[in-house]
């Protein structure tokens, strides 16, 4: 799910930056350090929307280095997966144990244990080296196809965002047999 969220952040500046461009420097530093990373408690920062000047609190000068620490708050577009959330994703890798799908920055693994039983080999179907094919041959999960899945668990930690999902429920599974062009 996507959120717009205010997030606090601290920026350490060396004295060379103290000048007319101070605020734009802070903005730039915030963007470059958080965009595209995962923060625990929040999620994956897709984009920094705003770093307003009135939320930059003048910092403390460090005693020994002369650097200044600014406490700022920025508004960001955040992505965070939730348990039981149903998402559409693109399959990027298929293997004997299941498949990996990407949803933007998020990597979701779906184990073959959570495939419908006519796909995972219990009542037919199975893995043929490149794809999981159902008993009747209608469903083929291979690289590049779109899959609707339910997230059953996710970790959002500093620098790591992973989820596991299932396609063994009603209305889940293959939704798009996109030809090849997977991200």
């Amino acid at each position: 799910m996507f959120y717009v969220k205010w997030i606090p952040h601290s920026v350490v500046l060396s004295p060379v930056h103290f000048g007319p461009k101070l605020y734009s420097t802070i903005t730039r530093l915030v963007e470059s350090s958080v965009e595209g990373t995962a923060l625990s408690h929040y999620g994956y920062i897709i984009r920094v929307l705003e770093v307003p000047e009135d939320r930059m609190r003048g910092g403390v000068i460090e005693y020994d280095s002369g650097e200044v620490t600014y406490e700022v708050e920025y508004k960001a577009l955040v992505f965070r997966p939730f348990k039981n959330e149903v998402v559409d994703s693109v399959v990027v890798d298929v293997n004997q144990l299941g498949f990996f799908a990407h949803l933007g920055p998020l990597r979701i693994f779906v184990s073959q244990h959570l495939f419908p039983s006519d796909v995972n080999g219990i009542e037919g179907g199975g893995f043929d080296g490149n794809s999981w094919v159902s008993e009747d041959g209608v469903v083929a999960i291979r690289e590049g196809v779109g899959v609707r899945l339910a997230i059953i668990g996710a970790t959002v930690e500093e620098g790591n965002i992973t989820a596991v999902g299932t396609i063994n429920e009603d209305f889940l599974g293959l939704i798009d047999v996109g030809e090849g062009e997977g991200m």
């Binding site: 293997n95 920055p105 668990g153 996710a154 992973t162 991200m183």
Partner: protein
């Protein structure tokens, strides 16, 4: 977070998440000591505090380079499925190394001239690779790869052009093995590197010209063919340094890919040490720790002569004992891949011959109402490591006794002996291992029954002694290595360091009646004849084991010998 008390006992985990219930599991991913963990399970105190079922967990690297943790039972389920699938395709699996096995790669601009060299026939390729970058390695498989797709490959500061020389006969090799084997790449290079090399190989296979893929936007017909071929040959079965923590430490573990220890797989690599370093490459198979697994096919490290002044991109190559030897190296006459392809064909034939026999027996038994379990079937089968062991041990004729000279230092010998006397099962010196694997007896000193003195140089004491012995061939180490690399018996004549002493009064006719198979030419004596006779008997006894190819070779040898005798007469 909320599941602290929840004990999840499910068998599959990814990144600390259970894949069945989504519960957070304490991550038992000790990248350093996962091997020791497997062996110290009775230690009781699992420091990661995970559930009992996960104490014996193992990391499995699957296609695409992801690491999944599974319990032992899940791993065996997975490997039995893999077996069934491979059998239904009538294939075995083949794990290929890249550097110095299939290709020789350098990143020096000076190598660029060979791309346009007509004589290379398109076997030198180039591609751009992002410069090594910590973030890049971490980012593989996550959103960062998008970044590199968008920016990385156009920025000259982030990229470096690599030049790739494909090993001679690569096309023949791949064409011949891809029918019988499912190929997997396992390289110490980065993931990008492996992908690029695989693509370059496929482009070469379909005959596409050498251009960098990223400069060519429209997918030409050939390009499409190359992509299809890539999918068919390698698919996503590529494992690289970026995917596994231990490759940086020179360890290649078979269990990562094949949890059953590779009963149906062959590895081809120019380095034995990386496989020997992994403690879980089934010491059962060999019974000695520290020696490479039996299903490793050691291939001669490939060096493209013209690249020798440039630094290697990834790892150093394996030690080549024959390097600097007297054999004149003509431009690129390397036969390594052809030899290997031949061995692989033999292994495959033997494996499926075996499978067919067992299946036939089972059919008969089924008729009688006896139903065997799959486990019993597995018991009956000869697995790839065993097959390779048997093929190896039949290479040299029986009663081959060998002495080495100038190959194993006195210091090493002393240390080895002292330790072995003390009951330590030490890995043997590679040369001794090659010889013993091929069925020879290795002796310390030259005595009357010695058939070969294998030496680095011709002028040592032992060589002189060997030269005095009737019928003893003093050969260079190249002979032994060529035998080992091709797993066929090579004629000693081109490798002789000194002429073989002939016995006086040899009766050619008699010798021609009972030639001992393959003991080289011009060195039969009465004594040898006896030996040959015995050898033949023994050969006869083991006839079923020896494979056809082998026998053909021997026959040829004998014929040659007979012809020569006829000439002499």
């Amino acid at each position: 977070m909320s599941n602290n008390n929840h004990k999840c006992t499910h068998p599959v985990r990814v990144g600390g998440l259970c894949c069945l219930c989504g519960a957070k599991a304490p991550d038992p991913e000790p990248s350093d000591d996962q091997y020791s963990n497997q062996y110290n399970t009775n230690n009781g105190s699992n420091k990661t505090g995970s559930n009992d079922s996960f104490v014996k967990s193992q990391n499995l690297t699957v296609g695409g380079g992801y690491t999944i943790q599974v319990t032992a039972s899940e791993a065996s389920l997975h490997s039995s499925r893999q077996r069934t699938r491979l059998r239904s395709l009538r294939k075995l699996s083949l794990i290929l190394d890249l550097d110095h096995t299939l290709v020789h790669c350098v990143d020096h601009e000076g190598a660029g001239v060979f791309c346009k060299d007509e004589r290379m026939e398109g076997s030198v390729r180039n591609f751009l690779l992002p410069a090594e970058h910590a973030n890049l390695e971490k980012g593989v498989g996550s959103g960062d790869s998008l970044f590199y797709k968008l920016f990385g490959f156009s920025d000259p500061h982030l990229c470096r052009r690599h030049y790739l020389k494909l090993r001679p006969s690569l096309r023949t090799f791949i064409n011949s093995v891809s029918q019988k084997y499912e190929l997997t790449i396992y390289t110490a290079g980065t993931r990008y590197y492996a992908l690029k090399v695989a693509h370059a190989v496929c482009r070469y296979m379909v005959g596409a010209p050498d251009v960098d893929v990223f400069t060519e936007c429209d997918m030409s017909e050939l390009e499409k063919k190359a992509v299809d071929l890539n999918r068919e040959l390698f698919g996503n079965r590529i494992i690289s340094r970026s995917d596994t923590g231990d490759l940086g430490k020179d360890v290649k573990s078979l269990k990562r890919v094949f949890p059953d220890g590779g009963k149906m797989s062959v590895m081809v690599d120019d380095r034995e040490d990386v496989w020997a370093n992994a403690k879980d490459n089934d010491s059962l198979m060999r019974g000695r720790e520290g020696e490479p697994p039996l299903n490793l096919l050691y291939i001669r490290p490939y060096h493209f002569e013209e690249f020798k002044n440039f630094k290697d991109v990834n790892n150093v190559s394996g030690a080549d004992l024959t390097k600097g030897g007297s054999s004149p190296s003509v431009l690129d006459d390397d036969k390594g891949l052809l030899w290997t392809a031949d061995i692989l064909a033999r292994v495959w034939a033997r494996y499926y011959e075996n499978v067919d026999r067992v299946t036939a027996v089972r059919e008969v038994e089924k008729g009688r109402g006896v139903v065997a379990t799959t486990e019993q079937d597995e018991e009956c089968l000869e697995h790839v490591p065993t097959i390779l062991q048997k093929i190896r041990s039949a290479v040299l004729p029986p009663h081959t006794r060998m002495v080495f000279s100038g190959l194993i230092s006195l210091q090493e010998q002393r240390v080895y002996k002292a330790r072995v006397m003390g009951g330590v099962n030490l890995p043997r010196h590679p040369v001794a291992r090659y010889a013993e694997d091929m069925g020879a007896e290795v002796e310390d000193f030259v005595d009357k029954g010695i058939t070969h003195v294998v030496a680095k140089r011709g002028e040592t004491e032992k060589c002189k002694e060997g030269g005095q012995i009737v019928g003893c061939a003093v050969v260079s180490i190249n002979w032994l290595m060529d035998c080992f690399w091709s797993l066929t018996l090579k004629d000693v004549t081109p490798y002789l360091l000194a002429p073989v002493k002939e016995a006086r009064g040899v009766e050619g006719g008699k010798a021609a009646v009972a030639p001992s198979p393959g003991l080289g030419k011009r060195k039969r004596t009465n004594e040898e004849e006896e030996k040959g006779g015995r050898g033949n008997e023994r050969n006869g006894g083991e006839g079923n084991d020896g494979n056809e190819k082998e026998e053909e070779e021997d026959d040829e040898d004998d014929d040659g010998f007979a012809d020569e005798l006829m000439d002499e007469l």
